[in-house]
Symmetry: C2
Subunit: 215 residues, 2 copies
């Protein structure tokens, strides 16, 4: 396996999502029964084509041997390195409302390398409430805690009207990656990775599928 950590060109989010799903699927393969997997089999499990699998992986080096498939342990380790999962990321959740609380309790985050170290809210009624072994912090301490705890990724789950102001504070405090759940378009400097989870958009993908059934 030759894995070059820096890809030759900009990789789309869709490609990264597929790499993430290959990682997940490989983790589910029972490694007592097989230690290689073909691109056909990986594609079948991921619901894509083997050409797509080979193309996605080819951005990062040369994997697998013709006729032998991919070594599962080697591909797992390469995907973890590509996705930046050989380290644990320090995460904070801003907004302890329903979405924030649902996310905080999402048990897979920790297992997958994301350590939620702080939760903030601006509502005095929520500040001080326990979550796990800690408490919800006032967002007055946002900048201080971000620096002290080395927060790298923030999940932003505040109301739409508060989102841009909060994002500006996060950027000011040095946060380089934000996952926004507020249903509003935000702007951030180019150096900040900003992604949005838009529930209504996901429903529109289904609405499209229902309106355009395959022949």
């Amino acid at each position: 396996v030759s894995h070059s950590s820096r890809p030759p060109r900009k990789i789309s989010d869709s490609t990264v999502r597929r790499l993430s799903s290959y990682l997940r699927l490989l983790q589910e393969v029972d490694d007592s029964t097989a230690d290689t997997i073909s691109s056909d089999e990986l594609a079948r499990r991921a619901g894509t084509t083997s050409a797509q699998v080979r193309k996605d992986l080819s951005f990062f080096g040369s994997f697998g041997k013709r006729g032998l498939g991919y070594s599962i342990p080697e591909l797992l380790s390469a995907l973890r390195a590509i996705l930046g999962l050989t380290q644990t990321w320090n995460v904070a959740v801003v907004g302890a409302g329903k979405i924030g609380s649902a996310l905080i309790s999402y048990r897979d985050f920790r297992k997958r390398g994301f350590d939620v170290r702080a939760v903030f809210d601006s509502d005095p009624a929520k500040v001080g409430r326990p979550w796990g072994s800690r408490r919800v912090l006032s967002d007055e301490h946002l900048e201080e805690v971000i620096r002290k705890d080395g927060i790298e990724i923030v999940i932003l789950a505040v109301p739409a009207e508060a989102a841009q102001g909060m994002l500006d504070r996060l950027v000011g405090a040095g946060v380089k990656a934000v996952l926004n759940f507020a249903p509003v378009r935000l702007s951030a400097p180019e150096a900040v990775a900003l992604r949005n989870v838009d529930m209504a958009m996901e429903l529109e993908v289904l609405s499209y599928a229902l309106s355009n059934p395959s022949e």
Copy 2:
């Protein structure tokens, strides 16, 4: 504007998501100041290229006039038709836990054509709890309510271990579109549109971005 409602080939989810974001962005344009928009301007707002905008729209017919841009009202109406948003969809949420509750309270759903008509749970402690003007229903009544209320889309927010069994019941009851929040890979017949929202995958997109900063 010539808009053919049936696209010539299978359209990817990424394309549908961009169409959804064009719709959102056009809705934000102040229509008292302009009634056309160029592909450059739409692309700038959507964070993509004008070639991508033109390609995405070209699947569905011919829009806009060279040098004049797109008519905003016509493009809005075409995007709504393409995305299947000229009707209201009947939606149910299965699972009244934290994620389900967060979704139920998401105010944008209704505005965007998704009417949450029923919420189910299997936990007797949750059944009967009020939500809006209704109550959480026992999932014993799942099939009956789905048929009676004409539920078309289900948001599945149950624990991972319960998800496939519940999906099978939904499919049996005739549901054709499911948005799954359980962190598990589910299988459904081809005729059922099944999409997954995977929070950890979204974080991995950020982890990738942090690990591969652009030059």
